[in-house]
Amino acid sequence: MITVSWLIAVPAVAAVLLLLLPFGRQAAGYLALLVSLAVAGGVIGFIYRFEPLGGDQFGDNIAWIESLGVRWHVGVNGVSLAMISITALITACAIGYGMWAGRDRSHASFALILLTEAFLIMVFSARDLVVFYVGFEGMLIPLLVLLAAWGGAGRKAAVVQVIAYTALGTLLMLLAIAYLGFTAPGGPNFSMADAVGRGNDWVFAAFALALVIKSPLFPFHGWVLPAYRESSPEVAAVLSGVASKAGGFAFLAVLVPLFPAQAATYAWVFIALGTIGFLYGAFLAFRQSDGRSVIAYSSIAQMSFIILGVFLLDSRGATGATFQMVNHALVSAALFLLAGWLETQAGSGSFKHLGGLARSRPVLATVALILGMAALAVPGSSVFASEFLIMLGAFEHSWWLGSIVAIGIVFAAMYMLRWISAVLHEREGDLVGSLNPPDLRRGALLCLLPLVLCLIGLSIAPAQFTDRVDAAATALVSSAAKEAGR
């Protein structure tokens, strides 16, 4: 029986092999792709075998560091499954894109992406705080190296930004975890289930700060823009698509269940920050002058919105947040790949030099349009479904919150339409003519297509998703909801 440990081990081992053995570019690419597809295959098996009401599945629970009470305890519930699925999918697409783009030193770059995948799956399936932390902090390194080594011109500043923010956050979280584990009654014990309700306010704050930064939530979003803008497209896709979701996921699956009392008491803080971030990110997105910045700010807005959903502490918010994480992962990963493709092909991502791309580029136009429309949550899309759930939850929380948040829809429409028309419509930009090949062709298209198809599939039958996730998501927030008297 394949357990989730395999999905962690396989990419990790492959990454080490890729790093150490002298693979050629082709061989490295195919091996990495094969591994990522194998992981995706494993995930599909999970989805097929998954029991929505069956709690944790496909897990392992074996002693790891006995003297510290640390166990290799992993498992998959509905929420985890959702996150692991997008991780596998986006990683495969990112590697495919990297192959297509022909990164130099490709074996190292693929190895690091695979390593990131392993750590991410670890985060999403961890049932032990140390396992969780190892994944959470571990993924930072490959991502940083990817950014630092393969990034754009401003990568140095970006790296400093990322370190200044995220490393600080995660290390503070380590202190929180250490406190929880070492003060456990009956000897050190890092099981998440046993840590429930044992933290005090300061532990909660340290833990939350790490997640706030990672997600990111206003006002800790400073690192996002440089990181997303300077990374290579596939890394930006992984970063915004899945790595940032580790923060959102941890809010829902770790922080809220572990600290029900604090989560209930301080929910208003996160709701307030989420609301501010949602509007702030969206508001800033519509004056950016290049595609990636627009998407980066919209990611800030979306993550804020997701966290707001989590802290509504009800079924609607939790399920909606999980769903929205998946949707946003698909949308932003695809958008970053697309924007990156444009940038690489045209030599610039600035709107000044782009525009009018829709003319005689039907494939590009269609893909961009679908993604843009999904991003602005056009009714009927899966993004709409998830946003609807969160907003409904917000409205149930209090009518004014729902009303404020709903304004975000209009903002989203504003910046996404601006992006669409700046890229696709109006006058042809001066660099557009130099595009070669002029339209999305096989390689790059193949990397985007799975993401787009998943979006369409989820739009047709979102209940297929929510049915699997609802029970787990609701259970995660239930004790905090009880504390909040809801």
Binding site: F283, D314, A358, V378, E396, H425
Partner: protein, 639 residues
């Protein structure tokens, strides 16, 4: 029966998929005919389904069916639910019928455009979205359709995407509609919070339990959606700009179907609106003000399509008045007839534009009566119907609305009645101003230059464009006979079951009285227009430059609504966004940690490694000082 409705719904979607997959492999004309045939099939299905519905006993014509559950979370669940009743049937017929005609028309209209396949795909997409909107049995699915029609409208307005004006108009339409969507969504949230359901049946059943405040707020929020979609005050400014899109789009989306969705929503939700009488009054007032305002503005417009666009606004305002007076059937009846004559006018205008090689300014037309006689004849039917002249269709439906106002006999009723009659005067003026300036008068130099060659080349237009116009002309002429007061009674009796709480219906006497007034006033308007515009006259110019100068300017600026929105929202938002991202975000959140922390840390590092200067005596000194400091510290502490 429901299978047929499902097929109707599915057909355009299949069309979209086929057209996008086949794409360039299809010949342009083939794509057009494929899309049109699909529409014809959809229309036939809808028609048969309607007949089957009609064959059921009255009171058993409401069918609800659930295809699959679309979305769930906790106790919230939304299905792909079908609701088929008399109102749905009317909407289905209008959408697929008019839709089919316009598809055919588009084949000719777009035949020189290399992107016509995309156009056809978008058209099918629109029809699908609109069908979703009307067959939905719950508000969420309605919202889905609501948003999707907005999306298709966006795509089609901006179809010529290299025209910056078109793209701007498309964005404007989308964002205005997004505001409406927000209102509608909030309404849905409120209803779910209050009633725990979003299905029509649930809401209708629970509506009576709502307090008047709750019902009013919910209705008000739904109304926000309705006014945005139907281009009513105060969210109306997108519609005139939307005329940048291809003319068939104006006919289908911005005249016949999508913009009337607001009317449909109010009529559909009438069991809820009944509990919010104040909101109903508000709807009437919005309608009356809107119809007068847009009628006035239409008089000074010079773009042929914009004139018709303002007339659309004004006619939908009539429908609002009708549903606001709880005479829901009159609104829907007017929606039905309006779909014919307004589509007719747009398509006719399209033919004119086509003949003039894209010229849209009526001052550059004139005298086309002789060169385009068929178009003239058809458009004249449409113009008479629009002006509400007996016995054309518009007359019956509009007068039914006004007569309801008379019948209600309350202040609001009287406002509706008087305002509606005044509006009829304006309608007569602007409609026939258009007709006279385009078809009568002396031809403008431009028209003289262009028209003969154009007509010689392809007559009045390809038959694929002319035939839809003929059919619509017949419809515009006769559809009013469905409800001749005292003679036929089909419109009311067919639609009566949709309002469980009953509807307003004027007496036969009131009806005829109104028809008399309406026709008279319409004729007066036509006479004024004739006086001012049919011949060469300096009267309009005198008014323009004379005493009415300010008023004229205000009307030409469309009463400053656009300027108001620009100054109140757009500019401050743009400025604030730029300020925030350029000045605040960068300094406070992005550079501060980088410069502040990073540079400061490095500075500290550099400054205290200065003592690490390599000289061993220095090191010994530091050691000695360290010893001294430590001893001092311990002695002080240790006592």
């Amino acid at each position: 029966m429901t299978q047929l409705v499902w097929i109707t719904l599915a057909l355009p979607l299949i069309g979209v998929v086929l057209l996008s997959i086949l794409g360039m492999k299809l010949p342009a004309k083939g794509a057009g005919w494929l899309a049109s045939l699909i529409m014809l099939a959809a229309f036939l299905c809808a028609a048969v389904a309607t007949i089957m519905l009609a064959s059921r006993p009255e009171g058993d014509r409401q069918v609800v069916e659930v295809a699959w559950v679309w979305l769930t979370a906790g106790d919230f669940s939304v299905g792909l639910d079908l609701w088929f009743d008399e109102l749905t049937a009317v909407m289905l017929l209008v959408i697929t019928g008019i839709g089919f005609l316009i598809h055919v028309y588009s084949i000719g209209y777009m035949k020189d455009d290399p992107q016509s396949r995309r156009f056809m795909a978008y058209l099918n997409l629109f029809v699908f979205s609109m069908l979703v909107l009307v067959v939905s049995a719950n508000l969420v699915l309605l919202l889905v359709g609501w948003g999707l029609v907005g999306l298709s409208s966006y795509l089609l307005i901006g179809f010529w995407h290299n025209k910056p004006k078109a793209i701007k108009a498309a964005k404007k339409a989308f964002i205005m509609n997004a505001i409406g969507d927000v209102g509608l969504a909030l309404g849905i949230f409120l209803l779910f919070v209050d009633l725990g359901t979003v299905t029509y049946s649930g809401i209708f059943a629970g509506a009576s339990e709502l307090s008047e405040t709750q019902a009013s707020i919910a209705c008000l929020l739904l109304l926000v959606g309705a006014v945005a979609k139907s281009a009513q005050l105060p969210l109306h400014t997108w519609l005139p700009d939307a005329m940048e899109g291809p003319t068939p789009i104006s006919a289908l989306i911005h005249a016949a179907t999508m913009v009337t969705a607001g009317v449909y929503l109010i009529a559909r939700m009438n069991p809820l609106f009944v509990h919010a009488p104040l909101v109903l009054d508000l709807i009437v007032i919005i309608g009356v003000v809107g119809l007068l305002m847009s009628g006035l503005i239409a008089i000074v417009q010079t773009d042929i399509k914009r004139i018709i666009a303002f007339s659309t606004m004004s006619q939908i305002a009539y429908m609002f008045v009708g549903v606001g007076l709880m005479a829901y059937w009159t609104g829907i009846f007017h929606l039905f007839t309006h779909a014919f004559f307004k589509a007719l006018l747009f398509l006719g205008a399209g033919l004119v534009i086509h003949a003039l090689h894209g010229e849209q300014d009526i001052r550059n037309m004139g005298g086309l009566r002789k060169q385009l006689p068929k178009v003239y004849f058809c458009m004249m039917i449409g113009a008479l119907a629009l002006s509400g002249i007996f016995p054309f269709s518009g007359g019956f439906s509009k007068d039914a609305i006004l007569a309801s106002g008379l019948h209600v006999d309350s202040p609001i009723g009287w406002i509706a009645y008087i305002g509606g009659l005044l509006g009829a005067l304006l309608t007569g003026i602007y409609t026939f101003r258009l007709m006279f300036m385009v078809f009568h008068r002396r031809p403008s130099p431009y028209a003289e230059k262009v028209i003969p060659a154009s007509v010689a080349h392809h007559g009045e237009g390809p038959s694929s464009m002319l035939w839809p116009v003929y059919i619509l002309a017949v419809g515009a002429a006769v559809t009013g006979f469905l409800q001749i007061p005292g003679v036929t009674h089909l419109a009311f009796s067919w639609l009566d079951p949709i309002a469980p709480d009953g509807m307003v219906e004027a007496t036969v006497g009131q009806d005829w009285l109104t028809t008399l007034f309406g026709t008279l006033i319409g004729l007066i308007g036509i006479a004024i227009a004739y006086h001012l515009y049919a011949r060469e006259s300096d009267a309009p110019e005198r008014i323009r430059l004379g005493r009415g100068r300010l008023f004229q300017h205000a009307l030409e600026r469309r009463l400053y609504w656009d300027d108001l929105y620009s100054w109140a929202f757009e500019r401050p938002a743009m400025w604030a966004s730029a300020f925030l991202s350029r000045d605040i975000d960068r300094t406070a959140f992005r550079w501060a940690p980088l410069d502040g922390l990073g540079q400061l840390t490095a500075f500290f590092g550099r400054s205290f490694t200065v003592i690490e200067n390599g000289i061993v005596r220095m090191y010994a000194l530091v050691l000695a000082l360290g010893i001294g400091a430590l001893i001092l510290f311990l002695l002080v502490r240790g006592g």
